[in-house]
Amino acid sequence: MNVDRELEQWRSEWQRRPTDSLDIDALMAKTRRRARQEKFLAAIESLSGVMVIAACLATATIFQLHALERAVFIVLAAAAGGFTLWAFQQRRRYWRHLPMDAHTLLKLERRRLHDRLRYWRVSVWVVSAIWLLTLSAAGTSHVLEADVADNWLASAVGVMIVLIATALWFIVVRKQTRQRLKKLEALDLS
């Protein structure tokens, strides 16, 4: 039989690496503690979600509100519910046992970075659209000399501040993402 001496030599040398630092009890104890922390965090997250939903529904039903305001609170409750469920599912979803090589993992990381960039780009567009709408509402109510003209103007200023902050953050994220993508590419090729 053809014996691969080089491989056998490497194999025996590799498997002789000192493993004295392996403390199974300490690893188990830390894992237990970490699992408890994760459970606690998941419980806090779910509880906060339930509290937000309850607060939105209570506000929508208990207080005397305009139909539009009531609708806003119901939509907020639904959004909070959706987010809580999504966060719960994300926690439960586990992928580390799936067969993936380094290229696939790097590809996933690249996709995560692209998604993050897309998220902030869309955020800039959405906030810009809201700002334009608010600005046009302020302009229209000013022309019509409506009572709410000042409120719309204040809203437009507020949204503009949010827009500037979002745009600046987008620029930072874009720069970071480009650098990280370049480095990931180097990792993949190395």
Binding site: E6, S21, L22, M28, K30, P99, L106
Partner: protein, 169 residues
């Protein structure tokens, strides 16, 4: 699987494959303190993944797969952390650079750590005694892709080891 079952199986897995896990951590992280953290992270990942173990592959393959997935993530995370503190730098060197540890005694470990990630995974599994088919199963690759990576990886490892030899002389 109940919490107690998971704990019992994790303890068994650590008893049986602990040295292998330590070697996986060794092949991805040169810094002893960070290596300890990585080993802890690997253990936690196995604990989380164990309930999904259906016995399709052997437990050893399953454990090795989780360990390698977590270790590659560790390399990417380390890059993220260093990005916060410094601009630029050599990313490929980051995954390999053993400079933080000072003198390293184990040439084979250093050379393995200097291999590209894709080759490193295959070579490390091969040295652990996995067959080509098991490596393919662990990494979700075709067997011929594994063979190709092993041939190239071995060639690079040989070069790295011979460089180390000539540096010593």
């Amino acid at each position: 699987m109940s919490l107690n079952d998971t704990e019992t199986r994790l303890r068994e897995a650590l008893r049986e494959f602990g040295p292998m896990l330590l070697r996986v951590a060794m092949s991805y992280e040169a810094d002893p303190a960070l290596r300890e953290d990585l080993l802890q992270e690997i253990t936690f990942s196995i604990w989380k993944a164990l309930p999904s173990f259906r016995g399709d592959a052997s437990l050893k393959t399953f454990v090795a797969r989780v360990a390698h997935n977590r270790a590659v993530d560790h390399v990417m995370q380390r890059q993220r952390i260093l990005d916060r503190y410094s601009e630029g730098g050599d990313p490929a060197g980051l995954a390999r650079n053993p400079s933080r540890t000072g003198p390293e005694q184990h040439d084979l470990t250093v050379s393995i750590r200097n291999l590209p990630l894709a080759y490193r995974q295959c070579i490390e599994l091969m040295l652990e005694g996995f067959t080509h088919a098991e490596i393919a199963e662990a990494l979700g690759l075709a067997e011929n892709a594994v063979s190709q990576r092993l041939v190239r990886g071995r060639r690079q490892l040989k070069n790295l080891l011979s460089k180390e030899d000539s540096n010593e002389r």
